[in-house]
Symmetry: C2
Subunit: 397 residues, 2 copies
């Protein structure tokens, strides 16, 4: 929560200005602001954007720092899940170390707010949660981390998991996770009843991984809607991926989108090129809160990704066929303020009163900054400089 | 056509070896090869891949070297086409300069073979073709450029265009282009009859842009197949984009794919995340020649792209949901040898007897090289070093 004056910067690619941060918040944006003895950074005429928000990732499972993982995993979802548990044991993977590595890499890319899903299962219990919670403590003031207690290996299919999720919430997780109530857990009623019960008990929200496509995903969303109404949890239940919102039947998907708006269900996407995905413009038009994330990367699931949410804005733009500069600004908004709003963070925006989370990026316009995603010149969290020239100031373990 | 010894390199990520190129061809791959007075490059244990092949791009329309183009273009295809002709006039765009800029940027990324579509229309006539032909002359030995005479603004809808295409073929273009016989030209019979007639007259092949999706694209492909049979042009007609091959009706798309195999119709993709695209694995399984390209980039059509075919291999992998290392190798093959085979270039491969086009890339495995697509250490065309550390040795105008 510091004071800082960023001089010679173009907010969102507009005219040159200075930005003054006081006590971690943006106090003024204008010309020739005075320093008053606070630290000064000269942005050299570059563009300022709000802090990037990674609203869907997996800090505990990256293999960053290890040699390249040669992926020879089978094609089914359960192959990937079972393989991952085995690799974690074989490597002795330390969720604290891995989450430090990924978080600091993301800070280098300008991410100042993260929602991470952390695996909880009957093999490893709450160890990964403890590790990521330790990372959250150590990186306070550098990057804010919100934790979802995530039943990656299934909830009903692995007895004992629900109790562990409950224990994770008591320990300090922020949200209850869910995963494909039909496709993965094969018992949608029990799955959803269980996670809603745990959430209600702890007075917390929910974030459900929903990879189920088309009509199956629609069914799981409808069952989720029913429970949001029954528990009065409007605004408290998010759905990640939500591929079914991209299904070709426009009327069916629009009905789901409209209900997401009515029940205030935020949608979080990673914009994978290979899947049908929720449409940025349709969700925005309906007033649905919409954020994005990098998903897991450099893990046993797949080789792609690096933590860069500016590159993710590009992929989101490519997936949504956004070509105009004003459309690219929309994609960036989803990766900054939109994601923060989906996570109930008000005032995460490049405006007076907004959080002093600012990223200085290269480019003539915001569009060029997104498409080239060159190394970030400067990253500021709540008025503190946390990264320069693409590298976090804190050393990666 | 030179001699070169590349020492201390890992072909396709395999064990350390040396590669000797003689008279522009790979003469030996083995350990402790002797230099015999030829130039020597030490690859420092990095990976060698074959020269990258950009089998679908537009060298004449990039705005590289100009300030960022702020895209405010309307949503329809015809908006983009009409806007582009206007911008070309307003900028006084020089196709020779632009194609030099793009080609040399691509050389820096390791591309040694390009198929480019060049706009021919009743506004600018054959000027762009002349410009790109001049680039082809100047860059002989650096990057091989194959030219398609492309009716970007339509063929039948703009009288006089067919005569210009015919003139372009007489001038030295390598293939006749086509564009959405239904969707764009509104007269599929006349469009296809015209381009086949021009191709037959000049004894050249065809490469048709086909953005038409689903059943409409299938119809245009079937009409194309009919003419391939009638003209005996098996193996001479390629289809670019071919989004209809990705349509959900598996039986319908498989029938088209099987006919592509039967008539030896190469398919060229740019793997756009926003569209249905031909499946790499299905095309390979059917024995269809399959290449990839970067498409136009940094032009009036859209902001994405940079000319990097290694990054395109990543996008192709993401679009096809390829996660295993052996699958990533397949994606790279499409962007190297596969593209060359689609362009009728035999022996573009990292093997004895293959062309001495070699790119030295960073990574522990080929998969890591694709996903990180770090600047290329060394690019060799027919035994000549043409780029180092991501930059072509020839200066960009």
């Amino acid at each position: 929560m510091s004071n800082l004056l960023i001089k010679n910067v173009r907010p969102m690619g507009g005219p040159l200005a200075d930005i003054r941060i006081e006590n971690g918040r943006i106090a003024a944006i204008g010309s020739s602001l005075v320093a008053d003895g606070v630290a000064v950074e000269d942005a050299g005429g570059r563009i300022a954007i709000a802090g990037l928000v990674d609203a869907h990732t997996h800090l505990d499972k990256s293999l960053l720092g290890y040699p390249w993982y040669k992926n020879e995993v089978g094609p089914r979802l359960i192959d990937k899940i079972d393989n991952e548990r085995k690799v974690k044991r074989d490597y002795g993977l330390d969720a604290h170390v891995q989450s430090m590595r990924q978080s600091l890499q993301s800070v280098g890319y300008g991410t100042t707010l993260i929602r991470t899903h952390v695996d909880i299962d009957t093999d490893q219990g709450l160890i990964a949660l403890e590790g990521v919670m330790e990372t959250r403590r150590q990186l306070a003031g550098v990057v804010e981390i919100e934790i979802v207690a995530f039943p990656q290996s299934g909830l009903m299919r692995r007895p004992g998991t629900a109790e562990l999720i409950d224990g994770g919430m008591a320990m300090g997780a922020d949200l209850v996770g869910g995963l494909d109530p039909c496709g993965m857990d094969r018992d949608p009623k029990a799955h959803l009843d269980t996670i809603f019960a745990i959430a209600e008990k702890h007075g917390k929200g929910i974030d459900i991984h929903l990879h189920e496509g088309g009509e199956l995903g629609a069914f799981s969303m409808e069952m989720t809607f029913e429970r949001i109404r029954a528990h009065g949890m409007q605004g408290k239940v998010a759905v990640s991926h939500a591929f079914c919102l991209g299904m070709p039947d426009w009327n069916a998907s629009q009905a789901l989108i409209d209900t997401c708006a009515e029940l205030d269900v935020p949608i979080l996407t990673t914009a994978p090129p290979s899947r049908e995905v929720p449409s940025l413009k349709r969700l925005r038009a309906a007033g649905v809160r919409f954020g994005a994330g990098v998903d897991g990367f450099r893990d046993t699931w797949g080789p792609y990704g690096n933590g860069d949410m500016l590159e993710r804005a590009m992929l989101l733009g490519m997936k949504n066929n956004l070509r105009r500069d004003d459309e690219l600004v929309l994609a960036l908004d989803v990766c900054t303020t939109g994601g923060a709003m989906a996570m109930d963070r008000a005032a995460h925006a490049l405006e007076v009163g907004g959080r002093g989370d600012i990223v200085v990026v290269e480019g003539e316009t915001v569009g060029e900054a997104i498409v080239t995603h060159a190394p970030r010149k400067l990253v500021v969290t709540a008025g503190n400089v946390v990264a320069r020239d693409g590298k976090s100031l804190r050393e990666r373990p």
